[in-house]
Structures are given as C-alpha cells and as structure tokens.
C-alpha cells in the first residue's frame, strides 16, 4: 500500500509547470495521468527505458530465422528436387516469407511487452474509484506524488499545489 497525493489540473501548461516546480521542491513524483502523452512531465519522472523495441527486434529475428529454417529444411533436406538445375536453396525467392512473418512476430512481441510493461490487462485498479479520475482520460491532468508522512508537510504540499493551480487535491491509498 502506498499513500499518494493526487493533484488535478485542468490545463496542460499549469500541470507541466506545477510538475517542474514540485520536482525542484523535492517532492517525490510517482506518476502522472494525462489524456495524451505529455513529454515534459515524462522527463521529470524517473523510470527505466522501455524494452519494447528490444523485444520486437528479438521476436522478429527469431521468427524470420524460423521461417527460413522451415523453407530450407523443406526445399533442401526433406524434399529436394532438381528443376532445370536451379539451386535448391533459392534464397532470393525465400526472403519474403521470413520478412513478412518476422514483422508480424515483431508486432506480436512488441504488443506483449507493451502489456507487460504497462501491467495490463488490469480491469480493476484502486485509482478508478477515485472521484474525478475519469477526467484523466478525457480533459484533465493528474500528478501523483508520495504523500508526505508528517501532517505539517502534507499541509505545505496541499498549499503548494493549490498555489500551482490544482483544482482538486486528494489523498488515496493504492
């Protein structure tokens, strides 16, 4: 269980500015919930790099190799036949199937890694019960930070975000 403080904004500019100031004031930013990707805030949050592209590369290469392997096995080893002296391993003609299936496998690997990195599918989440959270997928911006432990600090934080233009401040446990 983590205690979070959610600060909700109606304008992206204010939201970005508040996130920047909060970072400078050493608040521990945990996450942000926005109706579209906001790169400026992304940079303020510490997170490791996505592995999606690596997974896609590996998935694509493995599938392409497998496809070529099947072609090679079937045309050269299992059922070779000589048609006018043409080479059995006709690699230029064999390229398309590994290429197309490799791209498909890369897409599937990427999508799977995307779901794993996002922790999806997860239909129930404590945040969905928070009033006003549904606006984060529509037209409002929510900054989530670690709730300060001391009441005094919490009060300061509430004042800080109110001054920064937050329209709603909520404490939640997730």
């Amino acid at each position: 269980m983590t205690a979070l403080l959610l600060a909700q904004f109606t304008e992206s500019a204010r939201f970005v500015e508040a996130a920047r100031r909060a970072k400078r004031a050493d608040y521990r930013l945990v996450d942000a919930f926005t109706p579209f990707p906001v790169e400026a805030v992304d940079e303020l949050l510490e997170r490791r790099r996505s592995r999606i592209r690596i997974a896609m590369f590996v998935g694509g290469i493995v599938m392409a190799a497998l496809a070529y392997g099947i072609e090679y096995y079937s045309a050269v080893i299992n059922y070779p036949y000589n048609s006018g002296g043409r080479p059995l391993d006709a690699w230029p003609a064999f390229m398309l199937v590994p290429f197309a299936t490799g791209i498909l496998a890369a897409a599937i690997a990427g999508f799977t890694t995307f779901l794993i990195e996002c922790g999806l599918p997860r239909l129930h989440h404590a945040l969905f019960a928070v009033e006003g959270f549904e606006r984060a997928s529509q037209d409002q911006f929510i900054l989530a930070l670690e709730r300060p432990a001391q009441d005094e600090e919490l009060q300061q934080a509430l004042d800080f975000f109110r001054n920064a233009g937050a329209v709603a401040l909520r404490e939640v446990e997730t």
Binding site: S12, A13, D31, A32, F33, T34, P35, F36, P37, V38, V41, D42, L45, R47, S50, I52, R53, M56, G60, I70, E71, S74, A75, N78, Y79, A90, A93, F94, L96, V97, F99, A100, T101, I103, L104, A106, A107, I108, G110, F111, T113, F114, L115, E117, C118, L120, P121, R122, L123, H124, H125, L127, F128, E134, R135, A136, S137, Q138, D139
Partner: protein, 461 residues
C-alpha cells in the same frame, strides 16, 4: 510610379489549420467524437439505416454469389480458356490496394510528423482492415478447388509434400496473412486510449463494461503513454516496409510470369503507388461521409481535403508516368507481342474502358491544380470516386488485356462478365460499407487522444 501595397497576414500555426474554433478544446474534441456513440438522439439515423439496409442486401448477394461459386465452380463466372483470371483477381488487387493504404497513410504520415493525420488515421486504418479482409476472400474463391487452400501452409501431411516457396502465390498468402494480423494489432494499439475515454464517459453499465474490458484497464499514466508511444512508433516503422513488400508481391504475381504486358520490372513500385492512390481516394470518400454524417466539420476541415487532394495529384502524375513508361517500353523493346498488346489496349475490345481509365486516373485529378477544386469537398469527393473507378478499371484491364491478347492469335478471346461476376464485385462493396457502418456506430471514428494532443499544442503555441 506606384507603390504596391503588400498585405501580410500572419501565417496560422499548423495546428490551427486542422481544427475549427468550436472544436479547439479537449472537452469539445471528446464531445464531438463520442456524441455519435453516446448521444444518438442528436441524429435521426435514417440515412444510416437506409445505407445499412442497402449494403446488407448487397452483402447477402455477395454471400449468395460466393456460395454459388463454391458449390458450382468458377465456371459460373465469365472466365474462359484464355481469360483464366477475371473479376476475382482484379477485385483482389483493388481491395488489397485500398487495404494497403490505411496503414501506409497512417504510418507514413506519423513518421513524417504530419499532424493532420490525427483526425483521419482511425477510419483509414479501419478501412484497411475491412478491405484487406475482403481482399483475402478472392484468391480463395478463385481457386478451382478452394477447399484445399490450406495446402499453402507448411504442415505435416500424409502426402509428404511442401508448399513451393519460389511461387509468388505462396508469398501472397504469407504477406496477406501477416499484413491483416499486423493491421489488427496496429489499429487496436491506437484504439486503447480512446476505448478508455469511452469507458470513462459511459452512461450505462453495459457500455462501461464493454469499453472497459476492451481498454484493458488503461489509466493514461506516464508509464503507459511512454510504452504506447514507443510501440506505436516502432509499429509504424515496420508497417511501411511491410505494406510496400505486400503490394510489390501482388505486382510480382503478374511480373513473375512471361506474358506480354505483365513481365515488366516497373510492376512492383507501380502497384505500390497505385495502392496508395486508390487508398487515398477511398479515405477521402470516407472522410467526406464521416464529416457529413456526424457533423465533424470542426475536426475534418477543408484543409484536410486540400492536402489529400495534393497527394492524389502527385500520385496521378506518377501513375501517368507509369502508363507512359509501359507504352514506351512496349514500343522501344520492339517485341511483336508487346507492341500488338499496346495497340490492342488503345483500339481493341476493351478500348473504351482503357480510355475511361486514363481519364479517371490521369486527366480528372489534374483539376486539383486549382485551389478552388481542392478546397471544395464535393469536388474532391467526385474526383476521388472517379479515381476509385479508374483504379478498378486499371486492375481489371491488367488482367483482361494480357490474357485476351496473348502471344497466340488463335487464343485471342474477350472476357464477358456474368451476373455472378458483378454480384461478387458489387456485393463485396456492400460488405465493406456494412462493416464500415457498424464501425462508426461502435468505435470512435476519430482518434480522440491524437486530436487532443494536436488541440493542446495549438493552445500552448
């Protein structure tokens, strides 16, 4: 001496051009896109039902035609000993061309940072899915023994035989299969954030549950968006070469043969451009219909039609150049069969169709040089319909001309379509329209999160 007064107007920012003022807020974008799904009372839906009834009837006709072809064989079509391919292959090439364009347009414009794609990519990608699915039906029903189509796959079988990997038809199978599945992933990934918006705006428990399940629990967190953007961009990068290879393979179905008019090195790129061309024309038609039907003038603006018309104009010039290259090579190559085929194209039994093709694909789009035409939605729509017809004529004539005018004069025979030919063709159009009508009723037809980003950038600039 007079001094010319030069009036300077501030250039509108890029984002401003792609939306009208009444749509320029996040709330307005959500409202405009979600209204057809959640505030159905705002529309009478009469036109929708009429269109659904008409396309439903055509779909039934299509199913009947497919049933007849599957049970009685391809002989019910107008195919004969010379023209062994007919409407089925032309329809296949036409649909797969349209099917290529959605992903091509969407991913290419994404990579080129063309922000106006935001309001067109969703239905362009949906168009791709439906068209590619329909395209996949035709190669199967054109087979003499369609029940054995699965022989195209390498599976352990009692005959101990394998597919012929050197055959363009095998390439076709894998390319289409990979492409359809890839398109579904690409489309669905882009849809997830919008499904979450629909979930959060739902007014009934059923809608909340259905959209919620499809949104997979998307919360729009910074982590989600980072992963989303990485994946979406990577998919776009892979989508472009996949599409180009797919339609090149369709071109090679013809070019890998030894027939006059088919055995041309120009075919793969010429087919890819043709696909983009007909696809753009279809996107324009759908954009005009979505705009008109759901009053989306605020999000699909005249500027969108202007820019798409410019792309079609460019493509029409490339197409014209491709046709001219074919003519030149036939003459310059000096081959008797090629020259004879060229004369047949302009003067033979299909000549009126060939002239109509040239008019629709090359001449009519030249009207787009005029700004007034590009900025008239009706004008762009009419020319786009003409291009679609022209591109279909091109596909059917690629098949017909060569097969009807082969090396052997004794084999020269025209193709006369039967009612089953027409029913499979027009019926497939009905199926496409029906799928699109269902789509606009169930899924946000415009990508909300991408338009939101566009609108926000405009507000902060």
């Amino acid at each position: 001496m007079s001094i010319a007064v030069i009036r300077t107007e501030p250039m509108p920012s890029e984002a401003e051009r792609w939306t009208l003022p009444h749509a320029r807020s996040l709330a307005a974008v959500n409202q405009l896109v979600a209204a057809p799904l959640y505030e159905r009372g705002l529309w009478s839906w009469k036109t929708w039902w009429l269109a659904a009834a008409a396309s439903g009837a055509l779909t039934v006709g299509f199913l009947v035609a497919v049933y007849v072809v599957l049970t009685r064989g391809v002989g019910v079509w107008g195919v004969n000993t010379s023209s062994v391919w007919g409407f089925a292959i032309a329809d296949y090439v036409w649909w797969i061309g349209i099917g290529n364009a959605g992903t091509l347009i969407s991913s290419m414009l994404l990579l080129m940072r063309q922000k106006w794609r935001a309001s067109t990519n969703r239905f362009a990608e949906a168009m791709t899915l439906f068209a590619a699915t329909i395209a996949g039906i035709f190669p199967i029903i054109h087979l003499g023994r369609p029940m054995y189509f699965y022989w195209l796959t390498p599976y352990p079988n009692t005959m101990t035989i394998w597919p012929q990997w050197r055959s363009a038809l095998i390439w076709d199978f894998w390319a289409i299969l990979s492409y359809i599945l890839f398109s579904i992933i690409f489309w669905y990934v882009g849809l997830i954030p919008d499904l979450a918006t629909m979930r959060d705006r739902a007014r009934s428990k059923f809608a909340a549950t259905a959209y919620g399940a499809l949104a997979l629990g998307w919360r729009g967190s910074a982590r989600h968006w980072q992963a989303y953007e990485t994946l979406h961009l990577a998919l776009a990068c892979l989508g472009v070469p996949l599409v180009v290879s797919l339609h090149s393979v369709v071109g090679m179905d013809f070019a890998a043969s030894l027939m006059p008019g088919w055995q041309e090195t120009i075919f793969p790129p010429y087919f890819v451009v043709g696909a983009m061309y007909s696809g753009f024309a279809m996107v324009v038609c759908l954009a005009a219909l979505v705009r008109w039907g759901f009053r989306q003038e605020g999000l699909i603006t005249v500027a969108h039609f202007d820019v798409m018309a410019k792309i079609m104009l460019m493509a029409s010039i490339v197409m014209g150049l491709s046709y001219a290259t074919e003519w030149f090579n036939a003459w310059y190559g000096g081959d008797r069969a090629d020259r004879s085929l060229l004369i047949f194209e302009f003067t033979g039994g299909y000549a009126p169709m060939y002239w109509a093709l040239l008019f629709c694909n090359v001449l009519a789009p030249q009207a787009f040089w005029l700004r007034a035409v590009r900025r008239s939605v009706v004008g762009v729509f009419v020319i786009a319909v003409a291009i679609n017809i022209g591109m279909w004529l091109e596909r059917i004539l690629i098949v017909w001309n060569t097969l009807s005018h082969d090396y052997m004069p004794s084999m020269w025979r025209l193709f006369l379509p039967t009612v089953w030919d027409w029913l499979t063709t027009i019926g497939s159009l009905g199926l496409f329209v029906l799928m699109f009508l269902v789509f606009v009723r169930l899924v946000p037809a415009i990508s909300m999160h991408e338009v939101r980003k566009l609108v926000d950038e405009e507000a902060s600039s």
